[in-house]
């Protein structure tokens, strides 16, 4: 009995372990027992039938012979002849009795070994019968306190047609002796008596019993021999298998050094050889795996050291870069701040000169000063952008958050860029939604975001183009503002880079390029407002820049 874990469903079930050897021995033994027993039974049955038939044939022949030889004894009532015949039959070992019955039913002569005689009715029944066959009747009779089966063989003794005597010349006398009857008429045969012999089946039964004993003994010997041969054969088969199972368990337990040598040259031997080769292959593979593990471990250790080293180098480089970035920001901040002051002063003087405070200017001087003023504005915007970026990266950009009407901010910025739009015959329109809620933000920073987006749109929209600034409630928490232009569009591979610092598309001419910080600053400011900014664009058709700003708490 063994408990087996069913791996498929994880349950334990009870099962009986029956070895292959036991199964084989049991099956073959049952077959041998069934076949031998069946054959023995059939043989015994055949022998019993044969013995019975032999006894019946013997009795039939005996009674026919006795009837023939004793016919004249019955006819002539010659007891001496009948006694001689009876004694002859009684010498037969199976013979129990012989009875001659006369034509009147009286017993002419009889002899019995055991004072056993047949039922007279058997003989009487034959007198009225036309049968000339032997009548066989079996009955039981006592024999020394035991019952035995007796077979009674009875045959009527008939006298043939006297006119058809086998001696032709004797027929003359017969013919002459019977005046008045036809010589061609056959007189029916007459029953002159009945002879009965009794044969015992005891001797046959004894022979049968002896034969049964011998057959049973031989059958048992054959069965035992067959079982023994089966056991030896299965042992020869299962012993190598057991060794194989033992070694397989050792291998399964991790002991790959376990080996088994083939002891036979049959399929089991081939299996053992194959298993040994498999074990050897597993051993080789295990060694290779262990070697690989060792190498991997060594590599892992080296890699860790290298990673640590690289990390340290990167940390050092990062620290240097952070320092450089800080120095750059500081530099940009300082430079921008320091540049903006003189620029403001220069711009003041230029405007004074243009206003004529320093005297009348010629047209040529006025055009030159206008260009100076324009470039001063451009330079000032670049400086402001640098300063804003520096503040944002340094974390010093502060938002003065409060409820802001985004529609008003949009209208204000759109109004401020109408002049620039008209210069390029661009249609710039604000399309606000009805009932737009207040957003939570810094009005100046929102103005700056829109300024950067609209400024870019005007810059990349050709003459006669259209720019729409749409404002709508995106969801329950935010308001979305979209700047749609009909410009040249942004190639797909550049859409992810348009919000990077100092990035300009290759398609933008150099003279049109600024600091490259407008969209980067817009993105940073939107994210400071916890919103999102994204772009959709189709080359040749235009771009859509959208950003969301959270709705202010009511």
């Amino acid at each position: 009995m063994a408990t087996v874990l069913d791996r498929r469903n994880g349950t334990k079930r009870m099962s009986v372990f029956i070895s292959l050897r036991t199964k084989f021995v049991l099956f073959i033994s049952l077959v041998i027992i069934a076949v031998c027993s069946g054959l023995s039974w059939y043989f015994i049955r055949q022998q019993a039938d044969s013995m019975t038939r032999s006894l019946l044939n013997e009795g039939s022949i005996l009674v026919k012979n006795l009837a023939h030889n004793g016919r004249y004894g019955v006819v002539a009532k010659d007891l001496l002849l009948l006694d001689q015949l009876i004694k002859g039959v009684m010498e037969v070992e199976e013979g129990v009795y012989v009875v001659f019955t006369g034509p009147d039913g009286t017993q002419l002569a009889a002899m019995s070994k055991r004072n056993t005689y047949p039922d007279p009715a058997h003989a009487q029944a034959l007198y009225g019968s036309d049968s000339s066959d032997v009548t066989i009747t079996s009955f039981t009779a006592g024999n020394g306190g035991q019952r035995e089966v007796l077979y009674d063989f009875a045959l009527p003794i008939r006298r043939g047609n006297e006119r058809q005597a086998p001696f032709p010349l004797l027929s003359l006398e017969t013919e002459e002796r019977q005046p008045g009857t036809s010589g061609t008429t056959e007189s029916p045969s007459r029953v002159y008596g009945v002879v009965q012999i009794g044969l015992t089946g005891e001797r046959m039964n004894q022979s049968l019993n002896r034969m049964i004993g011998n057959v049973v003994l031989i059958t048992i010997i054959v069965i035992m021999g067959g079982i023994l041969a089966t056991v030896l054969l299965t042992r020869r088969i299962t012993t190598p298998l057991k060794s194989l199972v033992l070694v397989a368990k050792q291998v399964a337990g991790g002991d790959l050094s376990a080996t088994v040598a083939p002891t036979t040259h049959d399929e089991v031997g081939q299996l053992t050889t194959a298993f040994d080769q498999m074990t050897q292959s597993l051993t080789d593979r295990d060694l290779a795996v262990k070697q690989a593990y060792r190498e991997l471990e060594q590599l892992n250790q080296t890699l860790e050291q290298r990673v640590q080293q690289r990390t340290r180098e990167l940390q050092t480089a990062n620290a240097k870069l952070q320092e450089l970035d800080r120095l750059k920001s500081t530099f940009v901040s300082i430079v921008s701040h320091e540049l903006r002051t003189p620029m403001t002063s220069i711009k003041g003087y230029v405007e004074n000169m243009l206003d004529g405070l320093t005297g009348a200017l010629t047209e040529k001087q006025s055009r030159s000063l206008e260009r100076v003023k324009h470039n001063i504005d451009r330079l000032t915007r670049m400086i402001n952008e640098l300063l804003d970026l520096s503040r944002i990266e340094a974390g010093r950009m502060e938002l003065h958050v409060g409820p802001v009407s985004l529609g008003e901010v949009v209208a204000e910025v759109v109004e401020s860029y109408q002049a620039a739009a008209r210069e390029k015959a661009i249609s710039l329109r604000a399309i606000p939604a009805e009932g737009l809620p207040m957003v939570r933000g810094d009005a100046d920073k929102l103005n700056r975001i829109l300024t950067n987006l609209i400024h870019n749109a005007i810059k990349f929209t050709p003459q006669g183009g259209e720019i729409r600034v749409e404002t709508r409630r995106r969801d329950a928490a935010s308001v979305e503002t979209t700047v749609v232009d009909s410009g040249c569009g942004i190639p797909p591979q550049e859409r992810d880079k348009v919000f990077d610092k100092f990035y300009w598309s290759e398609s933008v001419p150099v003279e049109a390029r600024g600091a490259g910080l407008g969209l980067a600053i817009a993105k940073s400011l939107v994210e400071l407002h916890r919103g999102k900014i994204e772009v959709e664009s189709t080359v040749g058709q235009g771009s859509r820049f959208s950003f969301t700003i959270p709705i202010a708490d009511s």
Binding site: Y72, P166, L170, L172, G183, T184
Partner: protein, 298 residues
């Protein structure tokens, strides 16, 4: 030429009177039929035969005999005792040849118009043959039922005595008496002679007679070759065809005008059957001159 041939035939062929013979047969048994066949074979081919079968009925025989007498046949052949008796009683003026009658003297078959062919051979001839074969044979016994079979004649006894042989007989009246009489007889004789007596000799008793005789090493002598075939030493017998042939010879003589009064009984040819196996068993050496006489050897 053709005319000459016809004339030659006409002149050469004398008109022959075709006799008409009536055959009155007692019964349709093999022995009678063989005799009739032998008779017909020995008669001229132009003889006309009219057969009557009594079928064992004597009264029918007398009716047939009357009819035959009225029919004007030239000769009557009576086969068997019943036919012979019928002819004896009804036919007086037509020659009658009878045959196959065992004991004609017993039934008064003597008449002027009757002549018989015996079915027995000469006792003296049989005794002589036996003496030649077995010179030491002194006593021969036989059983008979006086109701059916007459005792052997004094003449036969005398002939035996001349050969130094004594004939010993035992009378039996029933079949039941046969075994005891046989045992008694076998104790006294050197050979057993079977006679045609249905009380003594039946199909059943033959084996007993033969067996009992063999037990005492007594040779059995019979009158039928079948006995020899079944184990008897010797049989002196008459072939039924020979009897018919003798009857035919007698009939031809009568039809040719020979007186029918002499001889009254004709003895047919004696035939001998011998079983050499039995002879060997009994220690009997058969002389060569006897062997030359034997017709059938088994």
């Amino acid at each position: 030429m053709c005319l000459l041939a016809v004339l030659a035939v006409t002149v050469s062929v004398e008109p022959i009177h075709a006799h008409e013979v009536a055959i009155l047969k007692s019964a349709n048994i093999a022995a009678y039929n063989q005799a009739v066949s032998g008779f017909k074979a020995s008669m001229p081919s132009n003889t006309k035969f009219v057969e009557y079968d009594l079928k064992g009925d004597t009264s029918s025989g007398r009716k047939y005999a009357s009819k035959i007498r009225a029919s004007g046949v030239d000769l009557v052949l009576a086969v068997g005792l019943k036919a012979a008796i019928a002819a004896r009683l009804e036919i007086f003026d037509v020659p009658v040849v009878f045959c196959m009658v065992l004991h004609p003297s017993k039934y008064d078959l003597k008449a002027d118009n009757m002549v018989g062919i015996s079915v027995k051979t000469s006792i003296g001839q049989q005794l002589s043959t036996l003496h030649t074969m077995m010179p030491n044979l002194k006593r021969i016994g036989y059983l008979y039922d006086p109701e059916k079979t007459p005792r052997l004649s004094a003449e036969a006894a005398n002939q035996a005595r001349q050969l130094g042989i004594t004939l010993v007989d035992r009378q039996v009246r029933t079949e039941e008496q046969v075994p005891a009489a046989l045992r008694e007889l076998l104790a006294e004789v050197d050979a057993l002679w079977l006679v045609s007596d249905s009380t003594v000799l039946t199909e059943e008793s033959f084996s007993f007679l033969l067996g009992a005789s063999f037990d005492r090493r007594v040779p059995v002598i019979g009158f039928d070759p079948e006995f020899v075939r079944r184990g008897a030493l010797l049989s002196f017998w008459v072939d039924s065809a020979d009897v018919g042939h003798e009857a035919g010879q007698a009939a031809q003589a009568i039809l040719e005008g020979l007186s029918v009064s002499s001889p009254r009984v004709v003895l047919p040819k004696q035939r001998i059957s011998l079983n050499l196996g039995t002879a060997g068993y009994l220690g009997i050496t058969i002389p060569s001159n006897v062997l030359n006489m034997v017709d059938e050897v088994y």
